[in-house]
């Protein structure tokens, strides 16, 4: 009962904020700023003067795409260089060395593409300077890039008979300066009040109440493991009397990690780590931050195309899909693992315990907030986790994977979620047009062959790379040797990895050892293709739409703000996804679920 209340509260607050957030963003992109951020306008103008940007000068889609790609390339170079050079740079109190070339390559692509897939372990790899000066920065810039591409696409619908879709530098600067930055400052400070750390101190050492010990292989003088006469490794007991608390400038990264649907944790355990997500309130705000901008952008879209009902229709479609997926995840996790019950373990939900499948979950979040967070983070392209998806029940884990595979169009990444959904809307009106034999149109724009080709690219490229990459990895020894869990679940780990990379999600079935040259390279290319091979067709679509005449609504036009259209859109998303991914899901989570139910 309390669980339903928490979920209702979450959705209620989110939907209430969609309109104010959305109309604020409309004003930002139109350059009509409210007073409370208006004082930053001189900063904006200074930026343009220093960079030689003429804000009134608009771009064709090809120029817009070129600017976006060049800007992203600079990001890749900066993130890569910083990781390789961090050993000699300041703000490195733990003295971390250079990151390996393949891992640095993977991380650079991953953060620039808003994926934030992490093959590395944050608190033993990245210096504070690397975290804040390159990773935090890309949390902002990659999110803003997604928003620019969306705004360009919306302009394609909103404008007519024009060659241009906006100015990339202006959209980038405004997204960062007026939307992401103020929200991040506020959220970061609230997070600190809950206990998220924010400092530049070396890791803190504290005494343990009860000492621990472990066996470690004894090394000889040259650093090789020693063996006894029988050839067994010799071990020595190590006494541990202190606990080392990893610290750092976490809150500032945490805020934009969620607001920008980035998801890359400062620490390895991501939002499960108490220093990233200490309380139920910090968790609630994190979840709210993930969906805030994507939900608001639906309203922005409605306003910019001059009919807010269009935006609400999209938002309702997203919410319906979300609630469906959430119900499955909550149910599966709360049911728990039948094998546990056989061992004399109590998994029932009572007033004094959350019950359910608690493996890989935190006590303060229980089942309700772990399954909710997991559904949100994979509906959006966030990828932050507050519980370990690898230890979810087969069906709970399948929900997370399936949402990524649908293209993260349920709210989705900032910008990328809505442009993905609008591409689905184009496909939906096309399908409806085929059924009744009329030229499809959407928002007064005739959808023609070129537009459908671009939309098809956006729909077809991700499954091609996800399924192709997974097939390749499970055929190669280097792909299989990284698998952690046996059986069908092992296949799921690989499928999840490629889905997450192409979907620019970044969460993982994290048992897989992805920090290997094979996965760092393969997934590096996957994140790149999953991002820019979709953004370019989307911008091409924007350019094509902007150039079209607007045709007046007639008696034969299909209304795209009605419940009928909502169901058509939901159906299109589910059908395209099901046709593409059901066979692969059957080999992973479905088989595992049947096994789990049969054995016990």
């Amino acid at each position: 009962m309390n669980g339903l209340l928490q979920i209702a509260l979450y959705l209620g607050v989110l939907l209430l904020l969609a309109k104010p957030m959305g109309s604020y963003m409309t004003r930002v992109y139109a350059g009509e700023l409210p007073v409370w951020v208006g004082w930053m306008q001189p900063v904006e103008r200074l930026f343009y003067r220093l960079c030689g940007v003429k804000p009134q000068q608009e771009m064709r889609w090809t120029q817009y795409a070129a600017a976006m790609l060049l800007f992203s390339l600079l990001g890749v170079l900066a993130v890569y260089a910083m990781q390789r050079l961090q050993a000699g740079l300041p703000l490195n109190p733990q003295g971390f060395g250079a990151v390996s070339a393949d891992s640095a390559f993977n991380t650079a692509l991953s953060f620039v593409t808003n994926t934030n897939w992490q093959g590395y372990v944050g608190e033993v790899t990245m210096s504070y300077l690397t975290q804040m000066l390159t990773l935090t920065v890309q949390n902002f810039l990659s999110a803003a890039t997604g928003m620019t591409v969306l705004i360009a696409l919306i302009r394609g619908f909103a404008r007519h008979t024009t060659e241009t879709i906006g100015n990339f530098w202006v959209d980038m600067t405004r997204s960062t300066l007026y939307i992401l930055l103020p929200l991040s400052v506020i959220l970061a400070l609230v997070l600190v009040s809950q206990g998220v750390v924010q400092n530049f101190a070396p890791y803190q050492s504290v005494p343990l109440v009860e000492n621990l010990s472990y066996d470690q292989p004894k090394l000889d003088a040259s650093g090789n493991a020693m063996k006894d006469a029988a050839g067994n490794p010799v071990t020595e007991k190590v006494e541990v009397k202190t606990q080392t608390l990893a610290l750092g400038p976490v809150a500032s990264q945490e805020a934009i990690k969620q607001l920008g649907t980035n998801g890359g944790g400062f620490f390895n355990a991501n939002s499960a780590h108490p220093f990233e997500n200490p309380t139920p309130l910090s968790n609630f705000l994190a979840m709210l931050a993930i969906f805030l901008i994507p939900a608001g952008l639906c309203y922005t879209f409605g306003q910019m195309v001059g009919d807010t009902r269009q935006g609400w229709a999209i938002l309702v479609s997203m919410t319906l899909l979300f609630v469906g997926f959430l119900a499955v995840a909550e149910y599966a996790e709360q049911q728990g693992n039948p094998a546990f019950t056989a061992l004399g373990i109590n998994q029932s939900a009572t007033a004094s315990q959350a019950g359910g499948n608690m493996e890989g979950k935190e006590t303060r979040f229980g089942i309700v907030n772990s399954a909710l967070f997991a559904t949100i983070t994979t509906a959006a392209s966030c990828g932050a986790v507050n519980a370990m998806h690898d230890s979810f029940t087969p069906l709970g884990g399948m929900v997370t994977m399936a949402q990524i595979q649908l293209g993260e169009v349920v709210f989705g990444g900032v910008g990328s979620g809505l442009y993905g959904m609008l591409v689905y809307a184009v496909i939906a009106v096309f399908l409806a047009g085929l059924m009744i034999g009329r030229t499809p149109e959407y928002l007064g724009k005739k959808i023609e062959a070129f537009d459908i080709k671009m939309a098809s690219l956006v729909i077809l490229i991700p499954p091609f790379i996800i399924l192709g990459g997974t097939a390749l990895a499970v055929m190669l020894g280097v792909g299989k040797s990284s698998i952690f869990n046996p059986g069908a679940h092992g296949f799921s780990e690989v499928l999840y990895a490629f889905s997450s990379a192409v979907g620019n999600n970044g969460s993982a079935f994290a048992g897989i050892s992805a920090n290997t040259p094979f996965y760092n390279t393969a997934l590096g290319f996957a994140v790149w293709a999953g991002r820019f091979w979709l953004m370019i067709p989307v911008l091409a679509l924007a350019g094509s739409l902007a150039a079209k005449k607007r045709i007046p609504t007639s008696i034969g036009s299909m209304a795209t703000h009605t419940p009928l259209f909502v169901w058509l859109l939901v159906g299109t998303v589910l059908l395209v996804g099901a046709l593409t991914f059901v066979p692969a899901l059957a080999l992973g989570p479905v088989i595992e679920h049947l096994n789990m139910m049969n054995t016990h």
Partner: protein, 190 residues
Amino acid sequence: MLQLLRPAVGSFLLLTLLTGIAYPLLVTGISQTLMSDQANGSLILQAGKPVGSTLIGQSFSDPKYFWGRPSATGPVANNAGASSGSNLGPTNPALLDAIKARVQTLHAADPSNTLPIPVDLVTTSGSGLDPHISPAAAAYQLPRVARLRHLDAKVLSKLVAEHTEGRQFGILGEPRVNVLALNLALDAVR
């Protein structure tokens, strides 16, 4: 392409300064001024010296103490320098073996207790650093700790209640018991 280079390099550098230096420094400055306890790890101080963090769990195996969530970090449990979950899948035999072993350890520590074990007491947490257990998991261990410390069960349950947090604002999250704070309080009683 060249005409794009100046705006690209310029905006990249300026936005980096703004979001990568000015922003984290601003947040650090305000946090360290107004909320330095939280910003530095919510440390528990005894005689002015840090003895742990209220947010980070420690590992307990002595039956005199309440035990926390099992932890999958290496090389020792609750290693707050390298957080990690077990990532064991739900049908992995290694998961079931590990849980079986934990069930046996709990039974060995208190053979008289034959109640079903609360699930959070035998499953690893997501971070490996979970500072909390459910009130059910505390109640399960209470008779053992009371007996070994020669404490009245009523006195002990009062102490547990003092270290139990309800849902935040009565709604959010789950009720929970802070294990390290409770055990430190137990040692202070003795």
